[in-house]
Amino acid sequence: MDIKYYIFLSIALFVIGIVGVLTRRNAIIIFMCIELMLNSVNLLLVAFSKMHHLANAATSATAGSEGQLFVFFIMVVAAAEVSVGLAIIVMLFRNTHSVDVNFLNRLKH
């Protein structure tokens, strides 16, 4: 499979995530769109790692495995991020009884 199609698929998923962040006001949906963007980048990293492996398999048997490990670490960091982020959203909801991000501008007062 041509790497181009993977690039375009990842770009499309990433842009959908960005549009979601820009157009929605629900904090949880914004957070989910960030997860979507992380996943599109993960997909592209895996595709690139397989491309690298195909090109360099003759010189090194483990060529490209770093890319997949990087994806693994991104997932680890995303899991930690989600736990803290959802705790913040729960606290926001407890204080304002809404998940509308526009209420966050009260932070400046």
Binding site: V15, R25, V77, A87
Partner: protein, 193 residues
């Protein structure tokens, strides 16, 4: 067109459709469910690329743990279509146009990239044996640092999510007021207020 190509296009179509449904669904619960569908299609892409370890980890961590956490929070807050904050129509349009411009620019910039193939369904770097060897030989230190990150995230989530003592007392006092009102008034009148 072989079976892997057909699978690639089908998975790509489902992924894009469900990603669009994530951002267009009015009900947050539906958004979470569509996002789970997206993660499953991305896992399918990993399987096509023979990255089996990542496919399983993606399902377990994302579709299993993270999305259940999202669903729990949404149901805990009792969010639904009615409580969904509405954004200005023009702001939505502006967001869509900005995203479309970004898509256009990125695709135009990468349209003429050199043709390089990825291998589908072959190669064994994505198997758990090879990844485990590399992970525990060359990347042990980041792996251990990740455990510290998890510990700090856990402590942070507990500290942030903990109720302040005063607030808890206030809420208990509120509940007492509601309870006495409930006993004093007719229950039907209480429910209708």
């Amino acid at each position: 067109m072989g079976i892997t190509q057909i699978l690639f296009w089908a998975l790509a179509a489902i992924a894009l459709f469900s990603a669009l449904m994530v951002i267009t669904s009015k009900n947050p619960v539906y958004s979470v469910l569509w996002l789970i569908v997206t993660f499953f299609t991305i896992s399918g892409h990993y399987l096509l690329l023979n990255a089996q370890f990542l496919a399983i980890v993606n399902i377990i961590v994302y579709a299993g743990a993270i999305m259940v956490l999202f669903l729990f929070v949404i149901m805990l807050m009792n969010l639904s279509k009615d409580t969904e904050p509405q954004k200005n129509k023009w702001l939505k349009l502006a967001g869509a146009v900005a995203g479309g411009c970004l898509l256009l620019v990125l695709v135009a910039a990468l349209r003429n990239t050199e043709t390089r193939m990825t291998e589908l369904g072959s190669g064994n770097i994505g198997l758990i044996q090879n990844l485990g060897n590399v992970l525990f030989k060359e990347y042990v230190v980041p792996f251990e640092i990740a455990s510290i990150l998890f510990l700090s995230a856990m402590v942070g989530a507990v500290v942030i999510g903990k109720r302040e003592k005063k607030r808890v007392e206030d809420e208990i006092a509120d509940a007492e007021v509601v309870k006495t009102e409930f006993h004093q008034n007719e229950p039907s009148a209480f429910l209708n207020r």
